[in-house]
Structure formats: structure tokens, C-alpha cells
Amino acid sequence: MYRGILMRLSQAVPVLLIFAVMVFMLMHLLPGDPALAIAGPEASAEAVEVIREQLGLNRPILVQLLEWFSHLAVGNFGESLMLKQSVVSAVVERLPVTLSLSLVSLVITLPAGILLGVVAAYWRSSWIDASVMVVALLGVSLPGFWVGLLSVLFFSVHLGWFPPSGYAPLDETGLVAWLASLIQPAVVLALFQIGFLARITRSAMLDVLDQDFIRTARAKGVDEWTTLAKHAFRNTLIPVVTVLGITLSLLIGGSVVIEQVFALPGIGRLIVQGIMNRDYPLVQGTMLLFGFAFVVINILVDIIYTLVDPRVRYG
């Protein structure tokens, strides 16, 4: 197994290298000048030129790429052009927001998704199954940003129940404010994941229900639900691990738009603003950090698979 992990890690090196070059090229392909973003719309052409020179943007693209790699080689992820802050510290500062959002949405997703999946499987082919599956399908079919916008209009602007945006840090504002600031975006994110998890859980449970011990339990009239719950637990572990893995890799992906809608100062917002401002080092560094995290998470998920499901061998 250790050899397997090592092999996966060694495969990750070329992947990350290609990824880094791709992100670099894509960023530098974007029209628009970061020096203008820094100088402001009213700066003179000369002033913008001065900034370009200072930032080294006038050098050949290949030189800039090599310089970036030489910095990366010594563990230097660079400094953001706009924030004047090291990329790592910019990411670390925003990580709690994105992690909190993922955590709250996961806490909503797990019970809801598993319950829906089990219920649908148990009463399969009935109207209960059909309606649960429609709900699950709706979860993956609704545009998150639209649900978010409507939610802000209704719950925040109209009813005034929740703050419409912004993040209340747990250590500064307390649990209630923290939760209130996250509940809307977390539910919107959870909608998608619940749909996803419910569908996976349902098909995993259908396997179990066909198996002999359930039939035996039914025949004997012993507490069917206890048996079911036991097996449900075991058999939903794999979908849960899958969803965990997806959630973690959605850390940036899924929250990019939602953080934008709810003005949450997290990683997704950081990257989108970085792209909009052509903050090359920020976007490149952050994407690379998360590309790396993505690779590691995938390996971890595979390892966990082998632990929860003895049928899966690590290769």
C-alpha cells in the first residue's frame, strides 16, 4: 500500500507541473493589464508603464515563467500584486471562511442525503421513492447562484431573518452569528450535495436490500429497522467517503459562485477577484496550492476506500 501511495505521489509531480504551466499560460493570455488595475482608471499612461516596469511585466513571458518556477522550487509561492501580501498568507487568511462553509454544508448534507437515500430505497418504486428522487434530482438541477439570489431577496431583504452576506468569524462574533452568516450559502451548496448523496445512497442500499439476510430478517419478523440501520450504516460509508472527497475538492469549485453571491471572503472569491484583476502570482499560487490539495485529497479518498471496503485493493 505504501508503494501504491508513493507511486501516486510521483505521478502527481508531472500533473502539477503541467497544471502550473497551464494556469500560467492561461492567466497571461487574458487581455487586460494588471498594472492598470493597480494604477486605477485615471492614471496616466506613463504611470502605468512605471508600474509595469516595477512588476517586471515587460520581460519576456518565458523569463517570467522560469522566474516563477525558480521561486516555487524554494517554496516561495509569490506575492499578490493587488493585496501586497504573500499568496500563502492570503490563502491562510481566507481558508477559515471556505472551510466553515464546507463544514456547515456537510453537516446539513450528510443526514439529509443519507436519510433520503435510505427512505427511497426502502420504499422503492413507490410514490415515496419517486418524490424523493425528484427532490434529489432538483438539487442537482437548480442553478445555485439563482437559488442564492432568490434566498437573499426572500429571507434577508423581505423577511430580514438572516444576514444577506458577509462572514461572521466564529472566534469574534460567536456561534449564533457565525451560523447565521453561513446558513443560507451552506444550504444552497448542500442542495446539490444532498441530491448527489441521496442518489448514491439509494443505489448502494438497493444492493443491500436484495441480500439474503434482510429477507431472512423480514421472514423472521425480527426488528427489521435495526438490521437495516446496521447495514445501511456500513453501506453508506462508501458514498459518504465519495461525497466527502467531492466536497473537499469542491472547496473552491462549488463555492466560487456561492461566495460571490453571498460576499463571503473565502478562497473562491479570492481567485475570482484575482482573475478579474489579473493578479498573476495570486491566481497562479492559489490554484497551484489547491491543485496540490486536490491531488492529495484524491489519494486520501482512495486510501479510505481501501479501509472501509475490503473488496477494494490499493493498486
Binding site: 487581455p31 493589464d33 493597480i38 485615471e42 506613463e46 493587488m82
Partner: protein
């Protein structure tokens, strides 16, 4: 008329612009201002850096003007008025400017401000500022004593003080030990009524009342960014909230006491609440169409004029959803440079027949005309969409390109990309007056070579008398609008809102929190 300008050797007609009296604190019905209290302001975004010398973004400047001060600043009517300077003597045919500092000035660290700090700030500005052009004509500085600072210019510049009042890239006075700091890395220490207490980039910052603030006691009250400013509030917290809906809800939910610009659509919801009030700021920005005279179809003057002839301003204003006023000129009504009737000939032509005639004359054969705009500022996008409809009606084949803000800005400033017309919003240039349009006009590479423009700008800056300067500006405006490089659409306003527990809120370009208080 303010008495600060001593006419040593030269009458500076600039004084004519100072005629408007200072507005006192408007608003609050409730009693006398009292010290204390903390408020939260939902700003439209957060600053990247708080270095006045390189600050061009409005969200950064809104904070900076609470913390830093300049020698000369904008007053309530956006004209120049001394702030850290007590007096300014203009001499040697507007080549020599002698600033005498107010006595007893201190930084928020408690250190005394002297002319050495002023010198260091000017020198740093010349080195790092985005607006170095301001000082490019300087031949030298003199520091005869701790309260006197002299700037010597190579050539006459009657508008130097108007340039020095610039609220963008403000030439704020920072402690002398900051001189060597690179751009965007200055310590946030100024002489303003507030000081920076904490700053969580991307989330919020907190300003605290500066206990060492030395107010300008020669003034009766606050006057624009200058005058006698008093900080009553203990702290002002700026929350960075990009979504307007979120700002509105923050105000309604009580988590914010004041909010930055709201779309009028949202402001309309405040009607039912008597504890909430709106603040209408006018003028705020100017909306223009800029044609690309260096690219394809719009390189032809006739095509540009055909576009100008097809514009129907009222429809564009209606669709922009912004509070807007008609104004043909590039300066605001009320400015001595305003040339209403002169610019009227190029404004709101809504003459489709003439547009078609011009197109025929230009030999237009249905080639594609590309209109560029951005999605960040929805009023710009909506204005371009309406323009596209009007041009189609006039027989033009249009294509709309919506790009992100920075691409749009780069297109406009560099003339890059394939486009013919773009929407543009100008905010501080028209506020500050004709001299400020220069950088803008010259920044558009395709306008630079316009015959007569250089000469007119030279006369604008060098003429000691007001009349020839006004004439020079008329000439500039006629050239730029007549060639349809710029097509003026409207003056735009802004709507902010606040909780009425906050008193002393007065409309101004920058949201100010001095001379505001809570009960």
C-alpha cells in the same frame, strides 16, 4: 471669498471658484453633536492598499481621506481650499507656490508635522505616485523654516493648485521617515481626524477617532474634504460588501448604519421605514461613449458623427436605472468652465435621418460596428445595449461585446482590442475641472494627434487670466465633442442610505464620517 490666497504678484482667478459658501453639516434634527458611539458602514468593497500617493480606487480613497490630509483639498463645491496649509502665496507668474503650514499640526502618532515632512512627501510622491505627472514640472523645493514650504515650477501653471487638490492619488503629507517606502507600502499614519485601528483585508477595517487631531480653527465648519473637521464617533467600521442587495439588507437588518451606493431600485424599498433615509449625491460621475478613432469604421469622422447623431439620451438614461441629469458639457453646471450652449450642438441629437445621411456620405455598406462594454457596471452595459438599438435603427450593423472591467479599461486606455465604441464612466475628472480631462484625452492614443488640442491645453494652463482659460477649455471641448471622440450622455448621481440614528450626514462625492454623530 476665502482670504487664504494672498495675491503676491499675480491675481489668481481661481479665487472666483471659491465663491460658494461652505455647507455646514446638514441632516440631523436631534440636538447637539456629542462624542462617542460606534457605527458600521457597508462599503462597496475593500481597499488593496492604503497608500494615498498611489490610491486610485474609490473604496480606498473613501478611507484614506479620513486618515490623511493634503496641503490643499477640495471644498464642498469641489474647488481648491487649503487644508494643512494656512495660506498659499502664488508668485513669479504662477511659477512659485509658497505654503505656510497651520501651526501645531501633528500626526496621529503625536509627532509634529513640519515642512521636512512635506518635502519628504513631495519627494516620495515624485518617486512612487501613479500621478507623477503632477510634479513633473517642478524644478525645486525650498524649506526656509519648519512651517514654510515652497514649490518652484519651470513654467507657469495657473491650475497647479487645482491639480494639487486632487482627491485621487492625493498628495497627502506622511511622516518624513516614510520617504523611502515603495508604493503601496506606506505606514497608515496621517494627520486626519481618524486613524486606522485594524484592517482585515477582504473583510472589514476599523477607524478610530484620532485624539491628536488638530482641526482648522480658521474655518467655521467642515467644508468638503477641508475646513474645520471634528470627529465625534469613537469608531467607524467599514464592512466590505460588494453585493448591493447585501448592503441594503445590512441596513435594514441593523448591522450597518450607513451603506455605500445602492441601485435606485433598492433605495426605493426604504420608503416605508422612517428610521432609514437616503442620501442623494449629485453629481457623482459622467457617462460617456468613447469612440475608437484608431480602429476601422470609427477612424472615419463621418461614421463617428453618425453615431453621435443617432444618440437619444433620454432612453439611455431611462434604461441605465441611475439617477441622472442631462448635461452636454464635460464639466458640471456651476463650474465656471461649464459650456452648456457650446456643447449643446453635439448633444442628444436623436436625428436618425442625419445619421443615415452621414453614413451614406461615408460610403457605409453595413460593415460591423463593435460596441464594447463591461458587466461590472451594469449602467454602462445597459447604456451600450440601448445605443446598439439606436444605431441599428439608423441602419448600422452592431455587435455588442461584454468583457470584464479590466479588459474594457485596457481597451479604452490602450486602444487595444477590436472595438469602435465603448461606454465609460468618469468620476473625479469632471469634478476637478478641465485640467484633469487632459490625461484622459491624451491617454486615448488615437486622440493624441488632434490638431489644436496641444495649443489649447497650453493656453489653459499658462494663461494667468480666467477668460482666455475659459476660451481655451471651450476650444478643447468643441474639438473633442465635435470630432465625436467623446459622446456625452449624462451626469449620474449616486444614492446612499443611512439609519437616522446617525446625524450630520451630508451628500458629498466621498462618504465622510467626521461631523457625524449618534445619540
Amino acid at each position: 471669498m476665502a482670504g487664504w490666497l494672498e495675491r503676491a504678484g499675480l491675481t489668481v482667478a481661481l479665487a472666483a471658484m471659491l465663491a460658494q459658501p461652505a455647507l455646514g453639516a446638514a441632516g440631523g434634527k436631534a440636538g447637539d453633536p456629542a462624542r462617542g458611539g460606534a457605527i458600521t458602514y457597508a462599503a462597496a468593497g475593500g481597499p488593496g492598499a492604503l497608500d494615498p500617493h498611489v490610491a486610485g480606487s474609490l473604496v480606498a480613497l473613501e478611507v484614506i481621506h479620513h486618515v490623511f490630509e493634503t496641503l490643499v483639498a477640495m471644498d464642498e463645491s469641489y474647488n481648491a481650499r487649503p487644508m494643512l496649509a494656512a495660506t498659499v502665496q502664488v508668485g513669479d507668474a504662477a511659477r512659485r507656490f509658497r505654503f505656510t503650514l497651520r501651526p501645531g499640526l501633528r500626526f496621529s502618532t503625536g509627532a509634529t508635522l513640519t515642512s521636512a515632512d512635506v518635502l519628504a512627501s513631495f519627494e516620495r510622491y515624485a518617486r512612487v505616485s501613479t500621478n507623477v505627472a503632477l510634479l513633473e514640472d517642478v524644478v525645486g523645493y525650498d524649506v526656509p523654516d519648519a512651517r514654510t514650504f515652497v514649490v518652484r515650477l519651470a513654467s507657469s501653471n495657473a491650475m497647479f493648485l487645482d491639480m494639487l487638490k486632487s482627491p485621487t492619488y492625493p498628495l497627502a503629507i506622511v511622516p518624513a521617515d516614510q520617504q523611502e517606502r515603495p508604493g503601496r507600502e506606506v505606514d497608515v499614519v496621517g494627520t486626519g481626524p481618524f486613524m486606522l485601528e485594524s484592517w482585515d483585508k477582504d473583510s472589514h477595517l476599523v477607524l478610530r477617532r484620532n485624539p491628536d487631531y488638530v482641526a482648522d480653527r480658521s474655518a467655521a465648519g467642515p467644508d468638503g474634504l477641508a475646513g474645520r473637521k471634528t470627529a465625534y464617533l469613537d469608531t467607524v467600521r467599514y464592512d466590505f460588501v460588494a453585493e448591493p442587495a447585501a448592503r441594503l439588507a445590512a441596513l435594514q437588518g441593523g448591522t450597518a448604519d450607513a451603506v455605500a451606493n445602492l441601485p435606485p431600485d433598492f433605495a426605493s424599498r426604504l420608503g416605508g421605514r422612517d428610521d432609514l433615509a437616503t442620501l442623494r449625491v449629485f453629481p457623482y460621475c459622467q457617462l460617456l461613449f468613447v469612440t475608437h478613432a484608431g480602429n476601422g469604421l470609427t477612424a472615419q469622422r463621418l461614421i463617428r458623427q453618425a453615431i453621435q447623431a443617432a444618440v437619444n439620451v433620454d432612453d439611455i438614461i431611462a434604461a441605465s436605472g441611475q439617477p441622472a441629469r442631462r448635461n452636454a458639457s464635460l464639466v458640471y453646471p456651476g463650474s465656471p468652465y461649464h459650456t452648456g450652449d457650446g456643447a449643446e450642438a453635439f448633444y442628444d441629437r436623436r436625428n436618425l435621418d442625419e445619421a443615415r445621411a452621414l453614413l451614406r456620405q461615408a460610403g457605409y455598406k453595413g460593415e460591423k460596428l463593435i460596441l464594447q462594454t463591461n458587466a461590472t457596471y451594469s449602467y454602462m452595459r445597459d447604456a451600450i445595449l440601448v445605443l446598439a438599438g439606436q444605431l441599428r435603427e439608423a441602419g448600422m450593423n452592431t455587435e455588442v461585446q461584454v468583457v470584464d472591467w479590466l479588459t474594457n479599461l485596457t481597451s479604452l486606455r490602450r486602444g487595444t482590442g477590436n472595438w469602435n465604441v465603448t461606454s465609460a464612466g468618469f468620476c473625479t475628472q469632471p469634478l476637478m475641472g478641465p485640467q484633469q480631462w487632459r490625461a484622459q484625452i491624451y491617454a486615448d492614443p488615437h486622440i493624441r494627434d488632434l490638431a489644436g488640442l496641444d495649443d489649447a491645453y497650453r493656453r489653459l494652463l499658462a494663461s494667468p487670466e480666467f477668460a482666455p482659460r475659459q476660451a481655451a477649455w471651450r476650444r478643447i471641448e468643441t474639438l473633442v465633442l465635435g470630432e465625436a471622440y467623446f459622446i456625452k450622455v449624462a451626469d449620474l448621481g449616486a444614492v446612499r442610505a443611512y439609519n437616522t440614528r446617525l446625524h450630520g450626514m451630508a451628500p458629498y462625492f466621498f462618504q465622510r464620517f467626521w461631523n457625524t454623530w449618534v445619540n
